[in-house]
Amino acid sequence: MVETQLGLVIDQERCIGCEACTVACKNENLGSIGFIRVQTQDAAQKDIPAGKFPDLRMTFMPLVCNHCDRPPCEDACPVDAIEKRQDGVVILDREACDGCRACVDECPYAAISFDEEAEHAEKCNLCAHRIDEGLEPFCVVCCEAQAIHFGDLNDPATTAGRLKRAETVFQLMPEQGTGPSVYYCPQMAPRGV
C-alpha cells in the first residue's frame, strides 16, 4: 500500500483570481486572515497584468500551506504544536502554540501567519475538521472556477492524483526539499485565433 498524502492540485488555467477561496477560508477557519491568498504572477500589484497593452498576461497564483512531506515548521516548533498526520495533513494547533514564531520564520513559502491579537501562529490545516467528516476543504467547495482539486495525491484514481501526474504540473520551490503536497497546473499559453 502506498501511504496516503492528501493535498491540492490548483489549476491556474481555470483560476479567475476571485479570492472566494480566501473569504471562504476566513469564514470557515475564523483565522485573522484567510489562509489561502491569491497573488497575480509577475505583477507588482494584484489584478494588474504584466506586459504592454495589448500584449498582456495575467496569471493567478493561490498560495497556501504546502503540507510538506518534510515540514520545516514541524521541526522548528519547540512545543510540538505542529504535527504531520497519517493522511499527510500538517496541522498547527493554535491552542498549543506559544507564539514564538519559529515556524513563521522557517516556512519557505511564507504560508504561516501570525495572529497578533491572539498571539499565536496560524495556517491552513486543509480543513482537517471537514476532512475528518468526509468533506472537502471549504476553499475547494467554494472555488468559483472549480480550479482547486483535493484528494489523495498518491492515488491516481482521484482527480487530484491524476492531475498531479500530468507532465506540465509543478510544485513551488522544489529545491527547498520540503516535498510540497500542493501542485499547480500552469495556465495555457494563448494559442491565437
Binding site: 472566494a20 495589448p54 498576461r57 467547495v141 468559483e144
Partner: protein, 753 residues
C-alpha cells in the same frame, strides 16, 4: 455531536443582483441565528457555486450598520438626520402623503423606482401590483445602463435579450462550440457569471477563446486572443470582421436566406423594403426577393422560390438591392487597416478572428452590457448580432430571455382584470418628469432595490435638481446608503436570509429562497411593506397571502415552465423547469421583429440613419478624427467585490479591495506626471472625483477605468457617477427606453494638490 444536532439546514438562494446566477445556498441555522452559508447541492454539480459576495451573506445580515427601525427625516435632505418612528406611523404617513399628492397631481405623479430586484420575483411583483392597482407610475430601471442591449436586441431579433439566441446553447449545456467570442462582457467577474465555467470547459475541450474589451479583464487573461477595442467602436470592429468574412465568402448563405431579411429587396429611393403592393401582388405587405430560378421578383417565402442573397435589381422601374447587398457594401469600406485605425485593434488580429469565426463549426458569442453602455451601444449590439447571423451562429428556436417564463409579471398585474394598470416611464426620463413635468409631473418616488443617487448618471444633477424637486421620497433599504440619506421616510428591509421568494435561476432551474431566520430588529420584507401600504390604500385583499402567497401565485400561474412544481418540492432543492424550449436551427424562427426574421436591415430606422449597424461616433469618448473637450475615455468596470453598490460596506471584502482606484495606462500617467499610488483628480465639466491612481497596462492608452459601485462617501471627493451624463438617445427612446451611457464619458486627470 451535540452541537450538530441543534443545527438546522435550510436551503435558500442568494439573490444578489447577479441576475441569472442566483447561487443555491445552504444556511446553517443555530438557535435562530444563521451561523454559516455554503453552496447548496444541485442535480448537476456544475451549478453548485458561491462567490465571495455570497460568502459575505452573514456580513450583510449581521452588519452593525443595518437600519433597525423605520425613520423619518428630521434634518435637511442628505444630511442623514433621522428620528425613529413606529411602522404604523411610517405607513400612515406614506399613505396620507401619497393620497394628498395624488389628489393634487394625479396618481401617475407617484413613481415606483424599482431597481434590480436581483433574482427575486415576489418582492418586485408586490410593488408592481401596488403600482398597478393605484395606476401610478412604474419607473423602469432598464435605462440604468441596461437598456442599450434590449434596444438593439429588439431591433435585430425582436426580443428583449439576445442571450439565449447567442449563448443559450452553452448555458444549457447543449452547445459544443469550437470558438467562443466574449464581447463586452467579463463573466470571470460579473454577469453572465455562470458562463465562465462552460467557457472554460469549452476551452478545455479545444475551443479557442477571443475576448473583446477595452480592459484586459480576468476573462481576457484566459483568452487565446485579446482584442483591446477602443470604447465606442465595437460596430466598426464588427463591420471589419464581416469585411473579411464576406471577402473570403465565409458567410453562411443558407442561414442568411432562411432566417434573416438578408435576401429581401430594399428600395434605393426610400430605403424601405420593397413590398407586394409595389409589384401589384395580392399580399400588399409581403416582402419581395429576387427569385434566381425564374430570374424575376417574387414574394418572399413563396413555394419554389430560390431567393438571391445579393445583387442589384430593377423591379417595376424601382431600383433595389437586397438587404444583404447593402450590408456587404457597408462592410466593403471597413478594410482591416481602416478598422484598425478606428478600433485600435491590430489588422492581423481582425483578419485572424474573422477567419476563425468564419471557419469554425460553431461559434458562441457571449455578451453583456459593457459596450452597450455607450451612446450608440444599441447599434453595436446589432452589429454583433449581425456577425452572429451572417455566420449562422444564432440559436433559432430558443426564444426569449435566459429562461422560459417565470420572470413574467402578469400574475401580479392582473389583480383586477380589465382595470388599467400603471404608466411606464424609463428611469432616465424620470429626471425630466421631476424637474420639468415632462411628459407629466412626478412628485413622489418610492425607491426599492436601488441606490439611485450612487448608481445613476449625473449624481450632481440628481442631488441638486431631481431630489430638490420632489415633494416626497420613500426608500426601503438595509443601510444608510447615499440615497437613503435623502429619504423622507426610510424603511428597514430584510436581508435575503430573513424572507422567502421564488427565484427562477440559474437556468434551467427554479429555486425557492426560503426564509432561514426571523427578521432582525424591526426589518420587514418588501412584500410585507407593500402589503402594509396596500391595506392603507384599500387594497389589502390583493396582498393577503404574504410572501408565500405570491410564490404560489407564480407557481400556480399555469406557466408551462413551472407547471406542476410545488413549494414543498422547492424547499428540498432546485427543480429543473418543466418546459425547456428547443434549440434547433432547422426550424424557422418565430422572431417578433416586423418581418418575423432577424432584421439585419431595419427599415424603421432609415430616417434615423441607422437602418444598418453603422459605426456612429460616441457622444463623448474620444475616437480618431473627432475633437473632444477631454482626452480620456472613462469607463466603469464591474468588480467581483460588489454587485453594483451592494457589498461595498463589507469589511471582509474591503480587506481585499480597500478603496476606489482609477486605472490609467503608464503612457498617459507619465504624460501627466502621475505615479502609481498618487492621489489624482478625475474631472470633466460635471465634476471632480478624487481618488488613488493605479498605473496599469490593463487599460489601453487613452482609457481610464474606475470600478463602479463604490459609495459616494468612499471617495475623497465626487464619485463615479458625478462624472457621467444623462443625455437621452432619441432612437433608444423611440425603440424602447433611453439608456444611461456610463461607458461613453470623457475626462481628464491630474495629480491632486
Amino acid at each position: 455531536m451535540t452541537s450538530e444536532a441543534t443545527t438546522k439546514l435550510i436551503r435558500t438562494v442568494c439573490p444578489a443582483h447577479c441576475g441569472i446566477d442566483a447561487c443555491g445556498i445552504l444556511a446553517h441555522v443555530k438557535d435562530g441565528r444563521v451561523v454559516k452559508v455554503e453552496p447548496a447541492e444541485f442535480p448537476d454539480p456544475k451549478y453548485r457555486r458561491i462567490c465571495l459576495r455570497g460568502l459575505s451573506s452573514l456580513d450583510i445580515t449581521y452588519h452593525k450598520d443595518r437600519l433597525r427601525y423605520p425613520m423619518k427625516r428630521t434634518g435637511k435632505r442628505g444630511e442623514g438626520k433621522f428620528e425613529r418612528i413606529a411602522w404604523d406611523e411610517a405607513l400612515d404617513t406614506i399613505a396620507e402623503k401619497f393620497k394628498a399628492i395624488a389628489a393634487e397631481h394625479g396618481w401617475p405623479s407617484i413613481g415606483w423606482v424599482l431597481g434590480g430586484p436581483g433574482a427575486g420575483t415576489t418582492k418586485f411583483g408586490a410593488y408592481l401590483r401596488l403600482a398597478s392597482l393605484t395606476q401610478s407610475t412604474r419607473v423602469s430601471a432598464w435605462g440604468y445602463g441596461d437598456a442599450g442591449l434590449p434596444c438593439g436586441s429588439r431591433v435585430i431579433f425582436g426580443t428583449q435579450f439576445p442571450y439565449a439566441l447567442l449563448f443559450g446553447g452553452l448555458l444549457a449545456g447543449k452547445a459544443k462550440p469550437d470558438m467562443v467570442v466574449v464581447w463586452g462582457a467579463n463573466p470571470g467577474e460579473s454577469q453572465p457569471l455562470n458562463l465562465m465555467r462552460p467557457i472554460m470547459d469549452a476551452k478545455a475541450n479545444g475551443a479557442r477563446l477571443a475576448v473583446i474589451d477595452p480592459r484586459f479583464t480576468v476573462t481576457a487573461s484566459k483568452a487565446d486572443a485579446y482584442l483591446g477595442v477602443r470604447p465606442g467602436t465595437d460596430s466598426a470592429l464588427a463591420l471589419g470582421l464581416m469585411h473579411v468574412i464576406f471577402q473570403r465568402e465565409m458567410h453562411d448563405a443558407p442561414f442568411i436566406i432562411r432566417h434573416s431579411t438578408g435576401p429581401y429587396l430594399v428600395r434605393s429611393d426610400t430605403g424601405k423594403y420593397l413590398r407586394g403592393k409595389d409589384l401589384g401582388l395580392d399580399e400588399e405587405q409581403a416582402y419581395v426577393v429576387w427569385d434566381t430560378v425564374g430570374d424575376r421578383p417574387a414574394q418572399c417565402r413563396a413555394e419554389g422560390v430560390a431567393p438571391a442573397i445579393g445583387g442589384t435589381y430593377t423591379v417595376n422601374g424601382i431600383a433595389c438591392k437586397t438587404a444583404f447587398e447593402l450590408l456587404k457594401e457597408l462592410c466593403d469600406t471597413y478594410t482591416p487597416q481602416k478598422t484598425s485605425e478606428i478600433t485600435g485593434v491590430a489588422p492581423d488580429l481582425i483578419v485572424n478572428l474573422a477567419a476563425r469565426i468564419g471557419s469554425s463549426r460553431e461559434t458562441t458569442f457571449v455578451t453583456h452590457m459593457g459596450f452597450t453602455r455607450t451612446y450608440h451601444g444599441d447599434v453595436s449590439l446589432r452589429a454583433l448580432g449581425t456577425v452572429a447571423t451572417v455566420t449562422g451562429n444564432v440559436m433559432a428556436r430558443f426564444k426569449g430571455g435566459y429562461l422560459p417564463a417565470v420572470l413574467n409579471w402578469k400574475p401580479f398585474l392582473k389583480a383586477v382584470p380589465d382595470k388599467p394598470s400603471y404608466s411606464r416611464m424609463g428611469i432616465l426620463q424620470l429626471y425630466d418628469a421631476i424637474i420639468s413635468g415632462n411628459p407629466y409631473p412626478v412628485k413622489a418616488v418610492w425607491f426599492s432595490f436601488i441606490n439611485f443617487l450612487n448608481q445613476c448618471a449625473h449624481s450632481n444633477k440628481i442631488e441638486k435638481e431631481v431630489f430638490a424637486n420632489l415633494d416626497f421620497i420613500v426608500d426601503t433599504e438595509l443601510f444608510m446608503t447615499p440615497t437613503a440619506r435623502y429619504a423622507d421616510i426610510l424603511l428597514p428591509v430584510c436581508s435575503y436570509l430573513e424572507f422567502s421568494d421564488l427565484v427562477p435561476h440559474p437556468y434551467p432551474y427554479v429555486q425557492y429562497q426560503q426564509k432561514a431566520m426571523e427578521p432582525l430588529y424591526e426589518s420587514r420584507s418588501d412584500v410585507n411593506i407593500a402589503a402594509g401600504l396596500a391595506e392603507r390604500l384599500g387594497f389589502a385583499e390583493y396582498f393577503s397571502g404574504g410572501e408565500d402567497g405570491f410564490v404560489d401565485l407564480l407557481l400556480d400561474s399555469k406557466d408551462p415552465s413551472v407547471e406542476g412544481i410545488t413549494r414543498e418540492q422547492l424547499m428540498q432543492g432546485a427543480m429543473p423547469v418543466t418546459a425547456i424550449p428547443e434549440m434547433d436551427q432547422a426550424f424557422d424562427i418565430p422572431f417578433s421583429t416586423p418581418s418575423g426574421k432577424i432584421e439585419i436591415y431595419s427599415e424603421g430606422l432609415v430616417e434615423d440613419g441607422q437602418a444598418l449597424p453603422f459605426q456612429l461616433d460616441p457622444l463623448e469618448s474620444p475616437v480618431p478624427g473627432k475633437k473632444t473637450r477631454y482626452p480620456l475615455a472613462f469607463i466603469q468596470g464591474h468588480s467581483r467585490f460588489r454587485t453594483h453598490s451592494m457589498f461595498a460596506n463589507v469589511d471582509a471584502l474591503l480587506e481585499l479591495n480597500p478603496e476606489p482606484i482609477v486605472e490609467i495606462n503608464p503612457r498617459d500617467a507619465k504624460e501627466r506626471g502621475i505615479c502609481d499610488g498618487d492621489q489624482v483628480v478625475v474631472y470633466n465639466d460635471r465634476a471632480r472625483t478624487k481618488l488613488k491612481a493605479a498605473v496599469s497596462e490593463g487599460v489601453s492608452p487613452g482609457v481610464v477605468n474606475i470600478m463602479q459601485g463604490w459609495w459616494i462617501d468612499q471617495f475623497a471627493e465626487g464619485s463615479v457617477n458625478h462624472l457621467t451624463h444623462d443625455v437621452i438617445n432619441p432612437v433608444q427612446e423611440k425603440v424602447y427606453e433611453p439608456n444611461m451611457h456610463m461607458n461613453d464619458v470623457a475626462v481628464e486627470i491630474e495629480k491632486a494638490e
